[in-house]
Amino acid sequence: MSVLVFAESSEGKFKKSAFEVTSYGKKVSELLGTNMVVLTINSNEPSLLHKYGAQKIITVTNSNLTVFNAKIVSNIIKQVAEKESATTIIVDSGANGLYVAPLIAVELKAGYASNVTALPSSTSPFIIKRKSFSSKAFANCEISTDVKVVSLAKNSFGVFENEVVGSVEEFSATIVESGITSVSIEQTKGKVTIADADIVVSGGRGLKSGENWGMIEELASVLGAATACSKPVSDLGWRPHSEHVGQTGKPVASNLYIAIGISGAIQHLAGVNSSKVKVVINTDPEAPFFKAADYGIVGDAFEVVPKLIEKLKEFKSNNA
């Protein structure tokens, strides 16, 4: 028996979520009284994972795997799971984690819980908490199969250092025929994405026009944050659709979410419920968003935001 964690890297570098799933896997293996094995593919520096509790690291290096392919990767995970007699498989909830997990579940005849937010509350029966109703509620899900697949929701557990000595083992995996060819990848480089950001600054229809986004971008850049918006803002073409958050847009699970000129409609809140701390700036003291916020300012964004930028710059220079 063991816990198998898939720690994803991109262009050889681990994503932050790789450290989170490793930290999480370590704790799960302790609860189950078993060991953890971490699988990496084409990572430049697999041994980094020792720092997060990974004793046994298995690495696959293959030039045909520079671009993620869900079918091939799910099959490799299956090969390693069988070799290591893994009974719990853990992946992240990024685009690739969510792509590969259901395929692993079928390959291993395993029950699967996605968007998991906590450690199992019980290991026998195996019960684990996951998001449901578009983050308006949680479900405690019992997985009854021998093998279990779990995808961990981003930023829900955290990264914990727990240095161990261990080994890195190369595994020569069989590569299956996938029927899928990657033609091109377009990715914004250098800009913080909503998915990765610790802080998100988001603007709504209260900002009146796309031309007023300069101060939103400046606030984001002072904070090292990603920018986001409400749905009408992207529908109006003020901002790209990739920035729209909410039930029908992107989910945000940042440490800090700053909502400016957003009313707080239920469909918007569904996308930001998983953010830890929420700040709301709105002219209307009755705006529903205040009920879901931690800190609120009733005021005009065009006055408050420039002041906030100024004060943050002062703060940053004093704390640099």
Partner: protein, 251 residues
């Protein structure tokens, strides 16, 4: 040339504005007063299917795995333009079991393109389409934001963290789709004629293959309600900076 035989998977979910409550000691969703609709992501899949039908020729079947209460949702899909509907008669409580039911219908029906949504807005499993693809051994694209098919060749794009990937593949194929497959303004809604015609269209109820459930919901929990929001005066913005640093510890 092969013809497209499309199966669109329709999940029957509470409307996005619904209040979420639970009954029976937090083990059941309280559907009292809740309006059920076609899962928003599935609407994109269904409209894309209608375009294939109109522009390239295809038959479009919609399927739901669920009890009789989902039939109005299937009728709505028929009113939007699907040719026929299948309801697999069982309670859908586990994604793996649902996927096995759909896989069995695909094998018997000879479908070569399966369009689904990327997740159901109620249980948010994000698993049925991938599982279906794996069970029937079709190619699979998750979080799909664009799909073109010519003959047997398919070009699709999928959303990745911070961008998109363009993929080439071929039929038979399963898609888990979302906005981008078509745009929101293009989503089809039923018109009067469609509603009248839907009444005559076949809605076939089939019995399940009854696979065992791999998961079950032990209980639900509602979100904890926030302790009240701390209000800061608009003239005192530095107080916010201070609190975010010392109290919330997020900057």
């Amino acid at each position: 040339m092969i013809s497209m035989k499309i199966l669109v998977c329709i999940s029957h979910v509470p409307d996005t504005t619904s209040k979420i409550n639970f009954t029976e000691n937090n083990t059941k969703f309280d559907n009292n007063g809740v309006q059920f609709v076609i899962n928003p992501y599935d609407e994109f899949a269904l409209t894309r299917a209608m375009w294939f039908k109109e522009k390239q020729g295809a038959t479009v079947t919609v399927i739901n795995v669920g009890n009789a209460s989902t039939e109005p949702t299937l009728r709505k899909a028929l009113a939007i333009g699907a040719d026929d509907a299948i309801r697999v008669n069982c309670e859908a409580t586990d994604g793996f079991a649902v996927a096995k039911e759909i896989a069995s219908v695909i094998k018997n029906g000879g479908y070569n393109l399966v369009l689904a949504g990327k997740e159901s807005s109620d249980y948010n499993g994000a698993m049925v389409p991938g599982m279906v693809a794996s069970l029937v051994d079709f190619s699979f694209i998750n979080a799909c934001i664009g799909l073109e098919i010519e003959g047997e060749k398919a070009t699709a794009s999928r959303e990745i963290d911070g961008g998109k990937e363009v993929i080439s593949t071929s039929l038979p194929l399963v898609i888990a789709g979302q906005k981008g497959l078509v745009e929101e303004k293009d989503l089809r809604i039923p018109n009067m004629r469609g509603i009248m015609m839907a009444r005559q269209k076949p809605l076939n109820v089939v019995e399940p293959v009854n696979s065992e459930n791999a998961t079950a919901i032990a209980s639900f929990e509602k979100l904890e309600t926030k302790s009240s929001c701390k209000m800061i005066d608009a003239s005192n913005v530095e107080e916010l900076v201070h609190l975010l640093h010392t109290e919330a510890k997020v900057i």
